[in-house]
Assembly symmetry: C2
Homo-oligomer: 224 residues x 2
């Protein structure tokens, strides 16, 4: 049986949601972050080839990397309809959001998180300089790219309720973490009503709610 | 016909290589970076929804995001063998490297590049402080993760010549850019003989060489 090794407040929530949406049988192990460093505990680091979550174990398979795990689970459930097939008119949108989630949005949100951690950790006396430099970098490098992505998201969600058409797919499941992080970091403001509606809508789905109940935390993203 | 909008010294080289490997018919447009900011020129920014390369246009389709483009092109060439199918024993490795390329390695290499740019741009007087802080962050946050990834890569390449088995797949094509960047940033040292051999081997393939000839640059990665 597949075991999901889930780290609280982390990207692995998406895999938990996917498993709930599929009604799959699985075992769930939840790990807590170190309260000072926010890092994964040693037992998860030892297990995961990336030293982080999510990681799944399934017989002899040990697999890390959110999107690889999503694809692996989709392979096991070929009739789920959660992966948009190449002959569908929604395939291009599906591919874009599945990959933009990790390839662009998470990479920007990770940089934003690293900047915040750096600002909070540097010695008090030089903090104003570091803060000014990193906030400038965030304005120049992160914000324009996030804005471009959110504008495309807003336009796509005007066309249909979900990222790849009229029903939930793993494009939505992949996107929920960076979108929740974007909301948390104040990127997802009133300029993006469709994105905000989508975030509320998916969080109210039965499968998300049962995943959240198993997770047992008040947020899916880490708040530093 | 598909047009690849390729930015010099950028991730879009991978799409160029893929098209050459497939022997596909396509049009190539090459864009030059701004010599001061290294950014893409305005005409590419206008075209690409992410303001960056690669982007492809194909009839009514405009698609950005390297891995999404790779999947889109693979859909058009279902018999290429470059995408490992779900029933193959190499599927898990294929999924891991296809997604780890953008989800983990490029995201770390991007952060490294941003740190380098920040160090080079801050006023001279505070540069030593910034350099110390960002190099420390690189040591703590980037290096351990890159080392984990490269160790897995080294172990996988001991098992077979390519990332997903004995023949070239898009896992290799996706990985060439972060691996070349890792080499350029001195991560890929003598501790990783298999990785270094792989990098030489793929660069000597006919399709890579013809892509490099069309690209016309001496490096695929940007050197700041």
């Amino acid at each position: 049986m597949l075991t999901l090794h889930h780290l609280e407040y982390s990207q692995s929530f998406r895999v938990l949601w996917l498993l709930e949406e599929l009604g799959a049988e699985y075992e769930l192990k939840i790990y807590e972050r170190d309260t000072e460093t926010y890092q994964a505990p040693p037992e998860l680091k030892k297990l995961s080839p990336l030293g982080s979550a999510p990681v799944i174990t399934d017989d002899k398979v040990i697999l890390a990397e959110s999107s690889a795990i999503i694809d692996y689970i989709l392979d096991e459930h070929p009739d789920s309809g959660l992966r948009v097939s190449p002959d569908s008119g929604n395939r291009v949108r599906y591919l874009f959001w599945m990959h933009a989630s990790q390839g662009s949005m998470m990479s920007l949100m990770l940089m934003e998180a690293v900047f915040q951690i750096l600002i909070s950790r540097v010695p008090f006396l030089i903090r104003p300089i570091i803060k000014a430099i990193l906030e400038q970098a965030s304005q120049n490098l992160i914000k324009p790219r996030m804005t471009s992505l959110l504008k495309i998201a807003e336009a796509d969600l005007q066309l249909s309720k979900y990222f790849a058409g009229d029903r939930l797919t793993t494009a939505d499941i992949a996107m929920v973490y960076p979108m929740a992080a974007a909301k948390d970091r104040f990127y997802l403001d009133a300029d993006y009503p469709e994105c905000n509606d989508w975030l509320v809508r998916v969080q109210q789905s039965e499968s998300f709610k049962s995943a959240a109940a198993k997770d047992g935390r008040d947020s899916i993203v880490l708040r530093v």
